[in-house]
Symmetry: C2
């Protein structure tokens, strides 16, 4: 069992003080070169490792940053986290992961826990957008801990965010369906209290209007992000007097459900019916009937969020710069909606 070696142990061995050791190890210019070399050599030989906790306490910086996501086992969030980790690792930061499981209570709890753990920043995708209770967020801001939202954000003064242009995502996808000759395009919308889903819906609506098509309330179905929900929703649509001939789904899973159900009913895709999803989940491109979907460049989003954090972290004194980064969504056109192209 190895004892923990401290700078005091090194100091004692060399008959100098811990202060000198500390300075030598930190390249303080006031140290005689010979002393520095001796200290560094001795430290190495004794297998000295700096105690980060002591450093953290003294400096007030833990070199940890907290990341809060609804859940980690989703391709999107996992990829964002990967991006964050890759960007922050070279700067010496460790990434602490918290999940909310879409529970506002957990969200608040995580915020408080991270602050109490003295993280140097928090990057999060908001769960509780509707809730007016922003107490936990202001607690973070009061402590002057940089806060950056990604993907799902909330309007709070002084908080930066990195999102994709969901409106545009909805718009280009709908436009694409129109270009493929679809004239009755339905929409699977998610939780409308979340900006992302609202914007996808608005983009969809605008594309319809801009192209001389009428917006039909009946064609909008609120779904969950699940295969089952997509199946149910498509059945509702098919029972309408005038059923649609395309679906723009805000979820890849719901899109998949719709496709499975349409196939069961022998409706041919994309000939009779086109489908497009959102998120570019890995499975969309693996399917025999690959699914058209909007890519949110999660890796890039994570890296960008990390960069925004880095920009803010050393400027505690200056005025908070609220930075809003909006990434462009990219439509991946695949078989489920390709009548003209492959």
């Amino acid at each position: 069992m190895s004892e923990k070696i401290t700078i005091y142990d090194i100091a004692k061995k060399l008959n100098i003080t811990a202060a000198t050791v500390s300075r030598a190890l930190n390249n303080n210019p006031k140290i005689k070169e010979s002393t520095r070399e001796l200290v560094i050599k001795t430290a190495a030989s004794m297998n000295y490792k700096q105690n980060k906790l002591a450093l953290a306490l003294k400096s007030g910086r833990s070199n940890n940053i907290g990341v809060i996501v609804p859940r980690i086992d989703s391709n999107f969030f996992a990829s964002v986290i990967r991006g964050i980790e890759e960007e922050l690792h070279p700067h010496g930061y460790q990434v602490i992961i918290c999940q909310t499981h879409e529970d506002p209570k957990r969200e608040n709890e995580n915020l408080y826990t991270l602050i109490d753990a003295q993280v140097d920043g928090i990057l999060m995708s908001v769960t509780d957008v509707a809730n007016e209770n922003t107490g936990a967020f202001h607690y973070v801001l009061e402590k002057n801990v940089p806060l950056v939202f990604f993907d799902r954000s909330k309007h709070i003064d002084g908080v930066s965010s990195v999102t994709i242009n969901d409106f545009k995502g909805g718009y280009i996808t709908t436009k694409h369906l129109i270009d493929e000759g679809c004239s009755k395009i339905a929409h699977f919308s998610g939780d409308q209290s979340l900006e992302i889903f609202k914007n996808r819906f608005l983009g969809y609506k605008q594309a319809l209007l801009d192209n001389g098509m009428t917006f039909n309330e009946e064609y909008v179905i609120r779904t969950k992000s699940s295969v089952e929900s997509g199946k149910e929703a498509v059945n509702v649509l098919l029972q309408l007097k005038t059923p649609p001939d395309a679906i723009f789904s805000s979820s890849d899973f719901a899109a998949l459900g719709a496709i499975q159900e349409l196939k069961d009913k022998n409706i041919s895709i994309p000939k009779q019916f086109c489908v497009a999803g959102f998120s570019n989940e890995p499975f969309t491109k693996f399917m025999e009937l690959s699914i058209t979907s909007v890519d949110q460049s999660p890796l890039e989003m994570g890296k960008m969020a990390a960069r925004v954090f880095l920009e803010q972290v050393d400027k505690t004194d200056t005025i908070k710069i609220e930075k809003k980064v909006v990434l462009a969504p990219e439509l991946h056109i695949r078989k489920s909606s390709s009548r003209t192209t492959i």
Copy 2:
């Protein structure tokens, strides 16, 4: 900007000492009940939050645990991490994520970094199994930090592990293919220096022998875990004098590649050719031609690894108990190999 409130601030306000405040907040029985109430009330009114860094320095426990995985953006690892987080969160631990990207250097670096950051334990899936250089691992053990391997493990005295029975996974899958009437079963093997892949291969081989079939070296192709690699591999197989009629792939992605290529060549699945994969990636069940695969219960694996850690963490003085937990793999039979059943 809120000042940081410490126990000294509370003490000053109440004209007592910080020691008394600390004792009151920690339910020390030696404190007069009236004092305790007063302190707690005052602390709350002043919005006092304990500084975990100071606590960590004093106690030597950071309440952080480190998790090292090859990458986080894979369904398997993300799910394991979810399991770990869910199990450890109620115990007050925060989870720090590190990725190796399959790079042994990063693995060592991560181990040292985590120890320097004073984590209370490390849960990891090993990247560098072959490497004899176990220096970093012993460094961890010397520091008496509990270490638990999951999925990919290494034989090191005193280190517990949670794995699945890969041999059995290989065995039951191969047996299933035999039961479906396949007589020439090929195998896509991964990196054989990793126990998991070696054991899947051995299970495959044993199942062949136990069922009176001959093991054919030519039928074993070393693939990477990618669609492309699966395509290349199946083409090699099809050019053999006696091509196989089934593949047990140790990777779902390679299995998918094989399926795509077989379809291109108009070989009917499962009638003429059966395919089974490993890992139960989400896409395997979403495909129109769903893919038979072995589930590794990642969530359970994560929880189990966390529990093994919890058992060890408070027993630093007792002899290290080396615990080997082996979870049972579960074969999910789907269309890609179902001639008899659905």
